[in-house]
């Protein structure tokens, strides 16, 4: 994929839809496009995290460790971002992310991500919305489990 195609692909992702061309180029150029095989781990729960992943093609499964072993929590697909909690909140990885299919992701390092949020309020708002949704999901799930 060349940069022009990459920029097109990034533009279609809601999170980045508000970015102008040169910012999309910066994001694409400073981030790594990585191919994962099914079963490869993108990150492992409890480890230190330095990057977030934007899924360009394929699906990932999200697992959390429980007493009875890893539990599949959810699945994310193309256009979604995973792994941002660790770099935004500076905490260890909260879940394990595994490639469910052959996967192409954009690996964004912490400093590039922060640079993007600082320079672009729209992205920051989008990230906040995403995080809030996840917290909401988590609370609902916890309440449901408690019933």
């Amino acid at each position: 994929m060349s940069m022009i195609e990459e920029v097109e692909a990034l533009r279609n992702i809601p999170l980045f839809s508000s970015l102008d061309d040169s910012r999309l180029k910066l994001l694409s150029f400073t981030s790594e496009w990585v191919v994962y095989q099914p079963g490869d781990n993108l990150c492992i729960e409890g480890e230190k995290g330095e990057e977030a992943f934007v899924i360009m093609e394929g699906d990932v499964d999200i697992y959390v460790n429980t007493k009875s072993g890893p539990l599949l929590v959810t699945t994310h697909g193309a256009g979604e971002i995973v792994g941002e909690t660790a770099i935004v909140c500076d905490v260890p990885r909260t879940a394990t992310v595994m490639a469910a299919t052959e996967l192409v992701v954009l690996k964004i390092t912490k400093d590039v991500f922060m640079q993007l949020i600082e320079g672009c309020p729209e992205v920051a708002v989008a990230v906040i919305r995403e995080l809030a949704m996840r917290v909401n999901d988590g609370v609902r799930m916890a309440l449901r489990d408690a019933e």
Binding site: M1, S2, M3, I4, E6, S22, R23, K25, L26, S28, F29, T30, E32, W33, V34, V35, Y36, Q37, D40, L42, D111, V112, Q115, G119
Partner: protein, 864 residues
């Protein structure tokens, strides 16, 4: 050591001093005659007065007499010169021998210093004492006895002559001597004092400069260089004042001497004249006495000069020696003797009321009693400074208890020699000092206790001479080049087993991975090894097979002469090689006229410049919004933030006036941007398939007619040739890791390891890693690896007891626990004492002692 330099000289060079004295006395007639003959030549041969009629029965004329005397003069001059030459060489050699002995003695004493003493002395003070301060002593040693004897002899002779002529004249000639002999030492004493002060000031200056070296980071980061310079200025100032005072006094002594010497003729004229007038002395006798007195001045002056030098040297020697007599210096026999016929240690390490206090009286270890069976695994824990560190050092006999005794199987450790202790006990401390040399040299360092007997006797005239010379100066009788590594100390039979054991230990101290990686990164250019290179080429081919077999070709893009490598920069693709060494840059190679003309031929050069322009435009587009100096420039951009405005202008000019409007220099700048492009990584779409094809064609054209001077600068990629200038890993890989493949590096690393194992060259790779140079004091490798090497060094020795004193403190907890478990496993049934951090779990130890404020606060059985 001898308290005065004269005792030292007499003890070690009595015979030589006598010889010099005899030779000096015997040469005196020669000197006398070489002065006498010219007088004969002028008065008799030339003046024609008193020519003997015949010599040895031959008739002589005036001409032949002149000829004889001149020849005799020539012969005497030569003999005289020869004698002087040999005497000087002999004296020089003697001086140098004594200096060698003195330095060796001083250095040996340093090795016997009690360990705590090293905290109190400054290395930069002691080093110049041994190297520089001893230097003037050498020059004095050969003159120490001969000079005063010779000059004194002359003086006495002249004086005898004068007294023989007339007692009163004799008294007149020596009238000033008592005064001089009284006053001058008084003045000299003050000079001695000053020169003593000067030596001390110079030493503290050296020590302060040494501190600036050690504290360089602090001085820079805290901006205290002005303060430091003021500090040095103060010391240089006081040095100057002392020197000025010394000069004043020294030259005053000289002035006084000269004056008093001139007073004497005054007495001669007065007293002698009186006697001549009275008729009690002949005029001739007075003239003779005056002549004798003139001769007297020479030796007298020399003697006074000697006296001043002697005083200076005496002071210097005393000051040197004073630094080498610390309290508690180790007895020489304890250091020198060898441990022979070692038996396995039995019983227990025990103590009764063991105490250790430093000079300030604070007790670090306070009346501790214990009995530890020598095969037990014991952990010593407690707060830092609670005494555990010093207890471990006491147990290793590195420091001596102030009270109480430490006993090994009932024997007081204080009476054991260093060799015996080190055969029983190995010790690894927190310092982890490494010596200059390779990793392997350092791991083997503890085996070098004594040269192997078979290797000490090399029958070679030169070696014999060197040995003899070191023996006669009391130096070490051992040859440093002999084979020092004792396999038995490590419990093995030969070098192969030793290497195997060392490599095995690397995994115990968790260093195997690091050394393996050092091995993979090493270059064979300096130590070519054809057999290994051959195997590594096999590894290269095997890896390529494995890649296709395992369907892993997408992880690596191998170099292929007929294909473009999208994971390599344009420049590497074009040259199909890399610069041979760091002195040449890619730019230098591309700028070579041959490359430029070849590229220009079919317009590829212009295309590349255009590609450079496109890339530069993208860079300007992407990075313009970032503030200047943002770290992304360094990490991602081809163009630095400083150059960005310039490129902006250039690109604007091209936009308006076309590409022809830019200068040659700017063309080169754009070209260099294009040369850095890596299509797979940068994904700019600039180096497209068409250009890639053209670049491969250009590669072939370049290769065909490449001039030798250019080939010499490039390491070409050739699948059948090993490149010594590239790392072992690059040689095996022979390609580039593919961009954007998850875990490619790890998976390829594993694959390389499996290929290395298949070919059985793991040990060769480890050997390469082990030959890595650790730098001065181990500075070239990180501190955690240094600690691991030091631990491996202690583990390599087969001893009954291993004491590990906080020796792997910089490692993370997981690694530390892993190493402790490994060492415990390795030392099953053999003693192990480990000093650990305060709240360490101390798992796997049979006994845990807790030390607080110098006392054992808790004894518990281990947590097995």
């Amino acid at each position: 050591m001898e308290t005065s330099i004269f005792k030292y000289i007499l003890r070690y060079s009595r015979k030589e001093q006598v010889l010099i004295l005899i030779a000096t006395v015997l040469s005196m007639p020669l000197v006398y005659y070489s002065l006498e003959i010219p007088k004969l030549i002028i008065n008799q041969a030339i003046g024609g007065d008193g020519i003997p009629a015949s010599i040895l029965g031959f008739d002589v004329t005036q001409i032949s007499y002149l000829l004889i005397l001149c020849c005799a003069f020539l012969a005497l001059t030569m003999i005289n010169g020869g004698v002087k030459y040999h005497l000087n060489v002999y004296r020089g050699v003697l001086s140098e021998r004594m200096l060698r002995r003195l330095r060796y003695d001083l250095y040996s004493r340093v090795l016997r210093f009690p360990i705590p003493h090293f905290k109190r002395i400054s290395q930069s003070e002691v080093v110049p004492i041994i190297t520089a301060e001893t230097e003037p002593l050498g020059g004095f040693i050969s003159d120490a006895f001969a000079l005063p004897a010779f000059q004194g002899g002359l003086l006495v002779t002249y004086l005898a002559f004068i007294f023989n002529q007339d007692v009163f004249l004799g008294i007149a000639a020596t009238a000033m001597y008592p005064l001089q002999m009284y006053v001058i030492p008084k003045l000299q004493k003050k000079v001695n004092e000053l020169s003593r002060k000067r030596v001390l000031t110079v030493r503290s200056l050296a020590s302060r400069i040494g501190e600036a070296f050690a504290g360089n980071t602090e001085i820079r980061s805290l901006d205290t260089s002005k303060y430091e310079r003021a500090e040095i200025t103060g010391r240089l100032g006081s040095l100057f004042e002392i020197r000025k005072e010394i000069y004043k006094r020294k030259y005053f002594i000289k002035f006084l001497n000269n004056f008093l010497n001139q007073i004497t003729p005054f007495f001669f004229y007065l007293v002698g004249g009186y006697f001549v007038i009275k008729g009690q002395l002949s005029l001739g006798a007075l003239i003779a006495v005056l002549a004798a007195y003139k001769d007297l001045a020479g030796p007298w002056k020399e003697l006074l000069k000697y006296y001043q030098m002697k005083e200076d040297i005496r002071v210097k020697y005393a000051q040197i020696i004073s630094q080498f007599h610390p309290n508690g210096i180790l007895d020489a026999p304890l250091l020198d003797s060898d441990a022979s016929g070692r038996q396995t240690l039995q019983g227990a390490l025990s103590s009764n009321g063991l105490s250790y206090a430093e000079d300030n009286g604070v007790k670090h270890v306070d009346g501790i009693s214990f009995e530890i069976p020598v095969t037990r695994h014991v952990a010593i824990v407690g707060p830092t400074g609670g005494g555990k560190e010093d207890l471990a050092r006491l147990m290793a006999r590195l420091i001596d208890p102030t009270r109480g005794q430490l006993k090994l199987n009932g024997v007081n450790v204080a009476g054991l020699s260093v060799a015996q202790v080190s055969r029983y006990i190995s010790y690894a401390g927190p310092g982890a000092y490494l010596f200059t040399g390779s990793v392997l040299d350092n791991i083997f360092y503890g085996l070098k206790n004594h040269p192997r007997p078979a290797d000490t006797a090399i029958d070679d005239a030169n070696a014999e001479r060197v040995r003899l010379e070191s023996r006669r100066t009391g130096n070490s009788a051992f040859d440093v080049d002999a084979c020092w590594i004792d396999y038995k100390t490590a419990g093995v039979e030969d070098s192969g087993e030793l290497e195997a054991k060392a490599i095995e230990l690397l995994s115990v101290v968790d260093l195997d991975r690091d050394i393996y990686e050092l091995g993979l990164r090493s270059k064979l250019a300096l130590n070519p090894n054809a057999a290994l290179e051959d195997r590594l080429l096999q590894a290269r081919h095997r890896l390529s097979d494995e890649l296709s077999r395992g369907d892993l070709n997408h992880l690596v893009e191998l170099y292929d002469y007929s294909r473009y490598n999208t994971n390599a920069p344009v420049a590497e693709n074009l040259l199909f090689g890399v610069p041979r060494d760091s002195a040449t840059t890619v730019q230098d190679l591309i700028n070579h006229p041959y490359v430029q003309s070849t590229l220009a031929k079919d317009g590829l050069l212009d295309e590349l410049i255009l590609a450079g322009r496109n890339a530069a435009e993208t860079m300007v587009d992407i990075f313009s919004d970032l503030p200047p100096g943002h770290e992304f420039f360094n990490r991602f951009s081809f163009i630095s933030s400083d150059d960005l405005p310039h490129y902006k202008l250039m690109l604007g000019r091209i936009e308006v006036d076309g590409i022809e409007s830019i200068s040659d220099e700017e063309r080169q700048q754009l070209l260099s941007v294009a040369l850095m492009l890596v299509p797979a990584q940068h994904r700019l779409g600039i180096v497209d398939d068409a250009i890639q094809q053209r670049l491969v064609e250009a590669r072939h054209r370049l290769a065909e007619g490449m001039p030798a001077e250019l080939t010499a600068l490039i390491t070409l990629f050739n699948s059948d040739v090993y490149s010594g200038e590239s790392s072992v890993q690059d040689n095996i890989l022979f390609g580039k890791l593919a961009y954007g493949q998850a875990r490619a590096e790890i998976r390829i690393g594993e694959l390389i390891r499996s290929v290395i194992d298949q070919l059985g060259i793991y040990r060769d790779i480890m050997r390469l890693g082990l030959s890595y140079d650790v730098g001065i004091g181990g500075a070239a490798i990180p501190v955690d690896q240094r600690q691991k090497i030091a631990l491996a060094r202690a583990l390599l020795k087969e001893t009954d007891l291993l004491i590990v004193n906080d020796a792997i403190s910089v490692l993370d907890t997981d690694t530390e626990l892993k190493i402790i478990a490994g060492v415990q496993q390795l030392r099953r049934n053999r003693g192990l004492i480990w000093v650990l951090a305060q709240d360490h779990p101390a798992a796997g130890f049979e006994q845990v002692l807790t030390l607080e404020k110098g006392k054992i606060s808790k004894r518990s059985n281990g947590s097995d």
